[in-house]
């Protein structure tokens, strides 16, 4: 089974939250059945989000110019560290019907 980190994109300067810094967590979004699962994911600043493609066909997880995992073949994974608070709609550039949301607190 292939395990490849397709892309690592750091967003913004390393801004630590005021006060006690939280321990960053890892979140996994599976791409399966031509959908992002979960379709809406809420994370904290500094958390890592990993997309794993379980489908036969390739996919991307792309939020415009903010970040892009690049093309992920079956069982490949793409990683970002989310540092910019807000709500980002993202999708697969290969399959426009696939949309999801990443909310960073």
């Amino acid at each position: 089974m292939i395990r490849r980190v397709a892309a690592i994109t750091l967003l913004g300067a390393g801004a630590l939250a005021a006060g006690k810094p939280a321990v960053p967590r890892r979140h996994v979004v599976e791409i399966r059945g031509m959908a992002f699962v979960p379709a809406v994911l809420q994370v904290a600043r500094g958390d890592t989000v990993i997309w794993v493609n379980r489908d036969i066909v390739p996919h991307t997880a792309t939020a415009g110019k903010a970040w892009d995992t690049g093309t992920l073949a079956r069982e490949e994974r793409g990683v970002i560290v989310s540092r910019r608070p807000g709500r980002l709609e993202y999708g697969c550039t290969l399959h426009p019907t696939m949309r999801a949301t990443l909310i960073t607190r």
Binding site: M34, D55, I56, V57, P58, L94, T97
Partner: protein, 181 residues
């Protein structure tokens, strides 16, 4: 082994005269697993070849992106199907349904060859909408119910959402092209 009666575009594309003859003889086109594998590989190859043919003739970037996705996705599916067939020791076997699909593809290509520009884009996408609907119907009404091998059945079931997404993508383009020719 039982399956419902395919209808609509599936009847047009899959249940050709040859298949209808088989149906008349047996009550339903009862494909063996090697025949199902052949139909699956043929269906993917047809769409890859049409996208390659269409590429240089396509006018709009969004339609070209769709064609490129068809090449990428159907190639990925065929790679998986080939690997599975090799692992199972199954040799895909030609059959009337595959032949019907190929005849339909040849006719579609012949009609597209005469077109250019926006008219080509519309006709190509119209064909893709019809083709993916037919393949989806074939998966539901014939291929998945007919398949006996669990791994081949699972592969076909995994492919289904991709075909449905391609159909939705093509329908979206069809609407956009109609609104802004």
């Amino acid at each position: 082994m039982k399956h419902s009666t395919p209808s609509g575009l599936l009847a047009l594309l899959v249940l050709s005269a040859a298949t209808a003859e088989l149906r008349a003889q047996t009550g339903a086109p009862d494909l063996s697993d090697p025949e199902v594998a052949h139909v699956a590989v043929t269906a993917n190859s047809i769409d890859i070849e049409l996208a390659r043919f269409a590429g240089p003739k396509i006018a709009k970037a969004e339609v070209r992106a769709f064609a490129n996705t068809m090449i990428t996705d159907h190639s990925a599916v065929n790679a998986q199907a080939g690997a599975l067939a090799a692992r199972l020791g199954v040799t895909p076997r030609d059959n009337p349904v595959s032949q019907s699909l190929l005849a339909g593809a040849a006719a579609a290509r012949a009609s597209l060859e005469k077109l250019h520009g926006a008219a080509f884009d519309r006709a190509y996408i119209d064909r893709e909408v019809g083709y993916h609907q037919a393949v989806l119907d074939a998966l539901d009404g014939l291929l998945i119910p007919t398949t006996e091998n669990a791994e081949l059945k699972k592969l076909l079931a995994e492919v289904r959402p991709a075909i449905a997404a391609h159909l939705a993508h093509a329908k979206g383009l069809q609407g956009a092209l109609a609104a802004k020719p």
